[in-house]
Amino acid sequence: MTSKNTRRFDEVRAGEALPELAIPITVPLIAGGAIATRDYFPGHHDAEAARKLGSPHIFMNILTTSGLVQRYVEEWAGPGARFGALKIKLGAPNYPGDTMTFTGEVSGCNADKRSVEVTLKGKNSMGNHVTGTVAVVLP
């Protein structure tokens, strides 16, 4: 990423599609993500506990989802993009063995603030795990 340029506001057009990003959902990602976000709720790292809650396996916590959303937009926008908002709606859970594929497009450009809004979704085999919008300020 060090070599990657930051997208410039003037280069971006409403309707531009972001490249897809497929993220394999694994036990290390879910459990590691929960701990890296200081979320020790048992359903995120203990399969037995998750099953007692009625889930087939551990499931991803919201803070990991937010982190992956940041990653998706940041990989497209570049290291100089500055996040103003990251708003998500949660849907189908992310379980190990599944794949979540992000798609997104530029849904708005605010020239005064040099801010770009991306509308995105992360879909797994059960539907949308996450939908939302991210606002980033570009140089």
């Binding site: 990423m1 060090t2 993220i23 020790y40 009625g54 989802t65 937010s66 992956l68 599944d98 085999s125």
Partner: protein
């Protein structure tokens, strides 16, 4: 019955009276620090050097490493021991409204929205805390999950000034709007039985809906599975018909056989499905009414088209795609040159 209703109103009055209530500070255990940032980036796959490379960060407007914005809430979580917050944190429970609802049988909770907004990025060494406001409790709603209430909390995150706050107020660095649905499950299901040994976890896979197949329509689906687009034909008068049915619409004969379509035609009409997004379909989902060159029309999915570039009269060609490990084969249509 009337008494029950009144009792419900009583507790809801208590809930509504709590809306707007502010809850005190909850502190972060640790100052914003580079090791926790680096580990967060490692697991998330975030590669922006702004968060991990001091030399790069020094060239930015921040002059030093900052925390990834999506990490904001993580700093202030209690960690391993539930409700074990650092000294100085409030002893009030910002979630008390949810406890009150549990007492009324609304036992389950699901997170719905997490809306983060950022005033500024935070640097290594800053000490964060947040305060909470109970923003709203909605009207009773019934969703697919059950009946309950949407509850919205707003957490405001601040960076504490050193030296007990001398030199002005603490900086607000961001905000989190967190909305949950607190509900009584529609179909309370017993906990899934744990699979034995190393059995693969039974993660539910959502499949395509299956067609209802009758003696009149079986030929069509069997044909599709064999890669043929079959159309019903009246044995008496030769009229083609689709969708399949028992009787010729022209001569009323019950006698029929089938012919294989050449699979070419044109788009007679179309819709593009946007909402609601029903799994496992991809959206936007274009669906065409195809007029086959043999003269009958059928409804089928469109592939290889952009939603803004579909036109009436566009020439299309059938292709067959298997779904759900071959359980279902569907004819789909792809644009071809005129």
């Amino acid at each position: 019955m009337r008494e029950t209703k009144l009792a419900e109103q009583d507790w809801m009055t208590e809930v509504r009276a709590m809306v707007g209530r502010e809850y005190g500070r909850v502190y972060a255990w640790d100052e914003v620090n580079a090791p926790m940032i680096r580990q967060w980036c490692e697991i998330m796959g975030v590669e922006n050097p702004l968060y991990t490379d001091a030399t790069y960060a020094a060239t930015t407007e921040f002059g030093a490493i900052v925390a990834p914005p999506a990490m904001l809430q993580a700093w202030c979580l209690e960690g391993l021991h539930p409700n074990n917050y650092p000294p100085g944190s409030t002893t009030e429970n910002p979630y008390e409204v949810l406890r009150l609802m549990e007492g009324q049988g609304y036992q389950s909770v699901v997170a719905v929205n997490s809306d983060l907004t950022f005033e500024r990025y935070v640097k290594v060494g800053e000490k964060l805390y947040y305060t909470t406001r109970l923003d709203a409790v909605g009207e009773q709603k019934t969703t697919a999950l059950g009946t309950g209430y949407f509850v919205t909390l707003i957490m405001s995150f601040f960076s504490e000034k050193p030296n007990g706050g001398e030199g002005g107020q603490d900086d607000k660095v961001g905000e989190l709007l967190f909305r949950v649905f607190k509900f009584r499950p529609a179909n309370a299901q017993p906990a899934a039985e744990a699979p034995k040994g190393d059995a693969a976890p039974a993660v539910p896979k959502i499949k395509r809906p299956k067609p209802g197949i009758s003696d009149d329509t079986r030929f069509f689906w069997e044909g599709a599975a064999a890669g043929k687009l079959l159309i019903q034909r009246c044995k008496c008068c030769g009229t083609l018909r689709h969708p399949p049915g028992p009787v010729c619409t022209k001569c009323h004969s019950f006698e029929w056989d089938t012919v294989e379509s050449g699979g070419t035609g044109s788009i007679y009409s179309f819709v593009v499905m946007h909402y609601p997004e029903v799994p496992p379909f991809d959206y936007p989902n274009p669906v065409g009414l195809i007029e086959l060159d043999e003269g009958v029309r059928l409804i089928a999915g469109l592939v290889g088209v952009k939603r803004n570039e579909i036109t009436i009269g566009q020439r299309v060609q059938v292709e067959f795609q298997a779904f759900d490990d071959g359980e279902l084969t569907l004819p789909l249509f792809r644009p071809v040159a005129p």
